[in-house]
Symmetry: none
Subunit: 193 residues, 4 copies
DNA sequence: GTTTAAACGAGACGGTACGTCTCGTCTTCCC
DNA sequence: GGGAAGACGAGACGTACCGTCTCGTTTAAAC
């Protein structure tokens, strides 16, 4: 890429300070109230240093979050499909109801509406890998005959997860484990042989 | 309310010009690029006149949109549930793929993440009435025995519509009538007696 | 004049309230802080009523002041020129050092720098009549042989009064009766036969 | 001082543009019509850059003017007191009748009525140094026996110059060299031995 | 071990938009 | 039709950030 200078000479301390400051500030204020100027000041860093390495505040947040999220990338397979789904979806409920998430999670999705680069990064690093893992778990179940062979698993994943995003973003109702149970129950009815 | 001055003395011409300018500008630029200053100038109106009656640009857009949307509030009942659902959902697909919607539709949802007033208005005037109509149509079908009696229809509505919002907001895949067909098919399998 | 509507139908009560409010406010705030809006509110009068009858706040003040000043227009002639001059000039010192005058007096002179109408009115109603009276008193003294015949009395008046205005407007030193005495003394030395 | 940021990093080009634009605009419009916004636009400068270095438009004007005025600070001593006085006062007449001066000179005096800082600066940088020079010239004449020993020279300076300010600010009559001659003539009569 | 080039902190710069304020005009309703 | 009330178009106010652009000052690789 031509946008960034020599990454070898990069100062890791500055990078850390910026990412930390971004998350730190996000927990205090709203995403809209997060400014490059604020990050620079609170990180003890020149603005130019930020602009040198990131194109936007969303990009900073994204990097900060993926860094923290990359750890737990796995979808359990206990043999009990319902329990596995429920466990993963409960996890998402926990995330969506975390007040901290309200700041940067929503902020990232908001930024993705405008900035295709953020949108792509969000998909590639956070969403799709997890969707893929879920599909794979469903595929095993399908091969085991727990799901009809003609069912499009990509659609199933959407049916399972979309209602959580729907409530989270539109505020029609609080995201909850009850919702997860209802959704799983109905979807399973539709895909069982 | 204390926020607004005497509404009797309000100048309707200014109100119209502001709402029209807001929509007009939205079709040109992005939602973020829509400014109070721009609306004022393009409407030939003082900024104070805008701030007098609306607290934010999102509020303006919301009023402009609801005004145009209020007309067609009905959910057909042809007796054919699948066809009725498909028709309504195709309509939403058409809306979500309208380039104009990209500007203000997404903008409103974005604004709703931050501003509870916008969120509430969005729900009350646009989302919930339509959800309600859909539930009522499903209730008729349920009474006709086309849907199992134990099915929670509110969850069904979410299962049907959430995947469209999911794709629209996360850009995981293009919203399309094919998606609608898949979703309806799977959901119907799950709720049929 | 074409600027004003039919003066016969004018409401005297409103006129009084406006003039009084203008002076009243001037004693509180600075001239720059005196606004049409403030006068209207404090007079319990519509802004239009002010604009109907006066072109500017300076015009209001001017009318208010001349009204009060018109009473005492006379220059005493006790036979003692020095005493007469001193008396009149002490009076001006008293005016210039009145804190109230700081508000409207300076304000009017300031306004006169910009607005020729104010300047003309200021001269015609306040300055020139008094200058004329002073010249007449001096003329009597000249005829009595107390002042050389070749002296231009208009210049003498300026020599007497200008130093007071000079200090008042430039703040080089406080206006005072000592200054008056010095000035009179020197000027008299110059014009005595 | 705490008001201004690091002056070392200051952009001289911006400073020049702002000072020039201020004078330029003053000669076009009235002082009251001079706005920070106008200066910024016409100087091709951000408003913040102005506010960073000057607290008010008067401060800008003052700096602009003193810069231009500092050059010629001397009072000639040809041995001929009358000629020297006349020369200096003619110079002031020339200044007061310069149409350009009407804009910013009056503007400064107007500003000094409201803003003590401007008043002080005006006195310290423009008025008093010149008054002092005049007093010194008069003192020499006094020691040479051309002026009575008991005459307060400070009062003489006021007698000489005040009438020019008087006419300039009150518009009672045009400032002119004839006025200067009359004034000098009368004052000299009063102070000669 | 010095040179040297780039990344760094700091922050001034030209801008845009903000939300508030006041101006002088226009409109509405009351007496 | 004059007057009280106040909404209106206009635009300046001073502030907050934007993203770019110098400035010295580290600082780490190349000599």
């Amino acid at each position: 890429m031509a946008t960034t200078p020599n990454p070898d000479r990069r100062n890791e301390r500055a990078r850390r300070a910026i990412l930390d400051a971004a998350l730190e500030l996000c927990s205090t204020q709203t995403y809209a109230g997060l400014t490059m100027e604020g990050i620079a000041k609170s990180a003890g860093v020149g603005k130019q240093t930020i602009y040198r390495w990131w194109p936007s505040k969303a990009a900073i947040l994204l990097e900060a979050i993926t860094e923290r999220a990359d750890q737990s990338l796995d979808f359990p397979d206990t043999g009990d499909l319902l329990a596995d789904l429920r466990g993963q979806m409960y996890e998402l409920v926990r995330l969506f109801t975390d007040p901290m998430f309200g700041a940067y999670g929503r902020g990232l999705i908001v930024a993705a509406q405008t900035d295709p680069a953020i949108s792509a990064a969000l998909l590639d690093t956070l969403i799709r890998p997890r969707v893929q893992l879920c599909i794979e778990r469903l595929a095993k179940a399908q091969q085991a005959g727990e799901i009809r062979a003609d069912v499009d698993l990509a659609v199933v994943v959407e049916l399972l997860y979309a209602p959580l995003y729907y409530r989270m973003l539109l505020h029609t109702a609080p995201v909850s484990s009850e919702q997860v149970d209802s959704v799983i129950s109905l979807v399973m009815s539709g895909i069982r042989p």
